[in-house]
Symmetry: C3
């Protein structure tokens, strides 16, 4: 594996050099973090930090701990799952700070950053991690760093088109994050198809302890998902509904998963991997409609639908895709992010069309800024008398908004598949140290794994000692 | 186990159908989550969400992660402990949203909900989980779902009587949550007595890794317990004291536990199970008095008392109850919730009687709303001049309040034992798939457990491979 | 080990007795937690609790969960690492409440406490835990309790001198916490040198599962480190920058660690222990300058430098110190806290000297209160016209401030080495039950370890059963 030795360090050092130069050239403080931006009127209690920091920390736990443990479910790839998730997360956040900065926060030649930028950078980061799930254990750290390097700007551009041009509603990212990340990742893994793994791989599975740790990851993601779905909703009732709907969706989804997983097994046994994944599908499915008046029953229903499709997907669709369509989806991201992403995207459109404007009252324009009449429209003048702080919008009807949402799905899928395919071919470049089939799903090529030391130790210790060791170690 | 197959899924689907119908019929948004309830004067920064969300998330971590890992301490029932805790948590929260809604938030035929309702629902949820601890590993998922279905309304009714009629002080739930849940659970397990487990069971124990994960659960519960004890205290100094007292009580309790656990062992060895449980007893013991002027030294003392009783309980009382009284208490909830619950309940009464009104100053009426003079009382008029925002109360003396607290303990125990006994007999109904003794404390009947796959794999791989496998897996 | 039996419980009970007496004699509520301190004007929403509680909880997770899991990395000392960390944490917090109270919050014969005191107590607690890392597994619980008993007051006195007399800037504690704790701990372990461990110890290592749990500890510390570095910065832009710089420093540090760790291994394999530790070095290195205008690129650079030095330190310096200088540093605190502490201390000085006053604008005096002109100085009068709320300071120049920072490093190291050495000799006292070499890094002397029960069980179960047991347990 000297391949790794020469490649990973130099790629990382190279990437860091670039990051440092770009940060030094472009990045400066925003008005909330810049000491010089404070006037003698500034009330420090109202610094933006305090409005977003607690939720930011929740999302941090999801990205670094929740995703990390969930990625560490493989019995012999636990270090890789947890540590490489960590690796691409820190790289993606820094890279996204720059790329998103150029798109959204570039003024007079500088990117102005504060904690809000770290928060948005984590959406890019989450996108990379979801895609990573498709190729977990089949790719070298060099490959996944390149994956991050390419996916972050493609994601940011796509999000910019969808949010700035099409101006759609997607607070939970069902479309911009989950659909994009899933089909980008599936395209990558399709290009990286390994015939040698067609019959499965002896290490492609969990053991009792890795499964419990992965379950812990799921629980952390589950608990903090309402923070993730609400953080980008409009403050007040918008965020309140986003939390409520996400929680209800996740609950009904989790409950359903136990039923379906047991129902799909001939002995009625629950597959813990279904719980680990499908219990989260509800969070994806309520993403787009999270802050709309989807009603509690609506959120409940979305959770149930997402769970059924996700669990059935794990049982039948993933093996089918692997065998027939040569799509080897290690973590089953199509089931957790793809299908529920579609459910969420469609739910958003349906909610826009079915929820009467009356049900929103004055809150309509907080929730749908594009529904506000255009500059100069007579209706705007009337509204402003009622809601003085109202800003002119796009004068869209519900039907207009629904069409833009639909268009966004198409744009998102198109770019994801195209971008993922190109990325996949780049990852095949020989010097990226793609591991041989027999080395897949194993930490050994990348990490010093304790067992090895054990073995050496055995040679030096006398047998009784070894036995003693062994007996004591058995249940460890 | 085809019993499971036909029963669990259909029960879950049936329960979900009912939940969906009831939610669709009854549940709507409250003024904080309803877009239509917003006026042009609404300041979104003051939405109730922001006042409770961070603490709500802390409680979420306790319920789903802390309890889950602690329930997963059995060496072969890790999936069951963690996943079934998850199962009953999501069901109980949704069911409690409805039941508590009918009791507390029912207006014009609708239950109005926001994040506050999710928070109160979690108290019902915690109650179910505590009771679950008594029958952990001895009951099928079907049984524990029925347990939740029955305990949530019985708990809610009891709490309503105690809080709305007797109007007692119990911010940390020493009485309403811990005493109730404990004696409800012990009554259930007494009815479900298994003579076959009299001599113990080979799987009723932890291994090195399950103990470390359970310890992690304890640490999370420990860290967030101050949030749990303070969230229902009056805002300001009341919540501040609740945090302080809970923290001090937990600290002294933890320290004491190390001493007592070592002292009780002939070789002076510490029992990690004592640390996992008794370290939390202090949080239960300061529950009722958490926001009163119990003094830091008082909180410290409560922690010490709770720890001693809890640890001694694990060492001597639990085996005694199992042998003599046929009460098989798997997690020892009587030691962690029952006895410390009594300590907390009595501490509340003692504090009410001993803490002079002067020590509360103006804060007296924030802490004891029932101490405010009755409507029309001359004293009220005088007080209102000082504290304009004061509302009429029950005109209770400290002695009156103490008597109501004592009455609440009786009511709580009576309903808990009666309700638990009835529930126990219902759980014995043959079609609830109660596992045979030999299947207790084992995931195998309910989950696909990796080991099984391992075995199959061995058959297909050549011996050298298997050995290789084995050697590599040893310390895993 | 009856030594433990008689010593640990009695020491703990003795310490608790003293704590209780002192708390009863001295500790009372502060104005935020005292009911009697509330006037009818008090706005409960502005109780100090709400400003610090969320960040306090983040720090709680670091201290109890993050540190605990990281200390549990040894394969046979998992209970000890996690539980003894818990033991000294609860003792140190209570002891620090008193000691810091006497130094900082002592009025009219009473120590006035609120949640803020718990927060500051945790800095003392963190200091003890860092030092504990140097002697992990080589000391009895009796010894580490004595260590805590001695280190807390020495730390508090040192911090008082540095903060109250020298008035330096060190929001993240690079000097007061990390440098002090490291050299105190190294001095202790030097005095406790064990020739018998010169050749290493068969149990001084991790296994696959303990490493994954330690990695989880690292991730939690990583995620919440920005809270730790920002909580003592001035509110508003100061805390905002502290979060931003810490996050950037941690990210660049983590990325670098993957490169260096791989580069230092002949096969290019990553050492997971490097990731567990060096990924955090950036948090230490930005500590002193965290709230200064160090610039994002500056924070990025500090992270890289800290990572390189820390990783190289683990690879070459730690073995060297153990062999040549008889400094056996079990957790390598010199690499994670010592060297990065120096980087942070120097970075603070450099930033003070290089960052122009203009770059701070009006924020200069929030960040450097000592830079405000002295009482009576004409400049002060002018400034007060601009910034009415400004309080007189020390009239220091940047150069003055830099010199005070340098002096603080010296003071800190001097007291740490002296105090640590004395503490070390006290810990050598025979009745403190220091474990024999062969018992090091093993839970067996202190805890009932499941394996033992297993063994007994084997005797009672028939062979087939035992095998069956064994086969099922293998991958556990």
């Amino acid at each position: 594996m000297s391949a790794i030795r020469c490649r990973l360090p130099f790629l990382v050092i190279f990437l860091e050099g670039i990051l440092l130069v770009l940060i030094a050239l472009f990045v400066t403080y925003d008005e909330h973090s810049d000491a010089a931006a404070q006037s003698n009127e500034t009330d420090h209690k109202h610094n933006q930090l305090y409005a977003i920091f607690p939720v930011f920390q929740d999302v941090q736990v999801m990205i670094f701990v929740g995703f990390g443990l969930l990625m560490g479910f493989l019995k012999k790839y636990g270090y890789g799952g947890i540590a490489f998730n960590f690796l691409i997360a820190v790289f993606s956040v820094q890279w996204a700070l720059l790329v998103q900065g150029w798109f959204y926060h570039f003024h007079h030649g500088h990117i102005h950053i504060g904690v809000y930028n770290l928060l948005t950078a984590e959406t890019a980061c989450a996108t990379v991690m979801i895609s990573f799930g498709a190729v977990l254990g089949k790719t070298s750290p060099v490959q996944i760093l390149i994956l991050s390097l390419l996916e972050v700007p493609i994601f940011t551009a796509t999000e910019w088109i969808i949010m700035e041009l099409l101006k759609i509603k997607d607070v939970g990212g069902s479309i911009t994050i989950h659909l994009f990340a899933c089909y980008f990742g599936l395209s990558v893994t399709t290009v990286l198809y390994r015939p040698g793994l067609k019959g499965g791989h002896k290490d492609e599975g969990a053991d009792y302890n890795s499964d419990k740790l992965a379950m812990l990851g799921t629980l952390l993601l589950w608990v903090f998902w309402p923070s993730f779905n609400s953080v980008f909703a409009s403050s007040g009732h918008g965020q309140h509904r986003a939390v409520l709907h996400t929680y209800i969706g996740l609950s009904s989804c989790t409950l359903t998963t136990f039923a379906i997983s047991s129902l799909l097994d001939k002995r009625g046994k629950i597959n813990i991997a279904h719980i680990q994944n499908a219990a989260l599908a509800g969070g994806v499915a309520v993403g787009s409609a999270a802050d709309m008046m989807v009603t509690p029953a609506g959120a409940f229903t979305l959770g149930c639908i997402a769970s059924v499709l996700c669990t059935v997907g794990f049982k039948y669709l993933t093996p089918f895709l692997a065998k027939r369509l040569k799509i080897q989806d290690v973590c089953g991201i199509n089931n957790l992010h793809g299908i529920p992403g579609f459910v969420g995207a469609i739910a958003g459109i349906v909610t826009i069309l079915l929820a009467a404007d009356e049900s929103y009252g004055h809150g309509l324009y907080d929730t749908f800024p594009e529904r506000v009449p255009k500059e100069g429209d007579r209706k705007l003048a009337e509204l402003v008398r009622l809601l003085p702080q109202l800003k002119p919008g796009g004068g869209r009807s519900a039907w207009d908004q629904a069409q833009y949402q639909a268009a966004a799905i198409g744009v998102c899928l198109g770019i994801a598949v195209l971008g993922g395919t190109v990325t996949g071919f780049i990852l095949k470049l020989p010097f990226l140290a793609q591991p041989k089939d027999e080395y897949c799903f194993n930490d050994d090529p990348y990490f010093e794994v304790p067992e090895v030391e054990e073995k050496e130790e055995f040679e030096f210790t006398n047998k009784s000692n070894a036995n003693n060791n062994q007996r004591l170690k058995l249940p460890v």
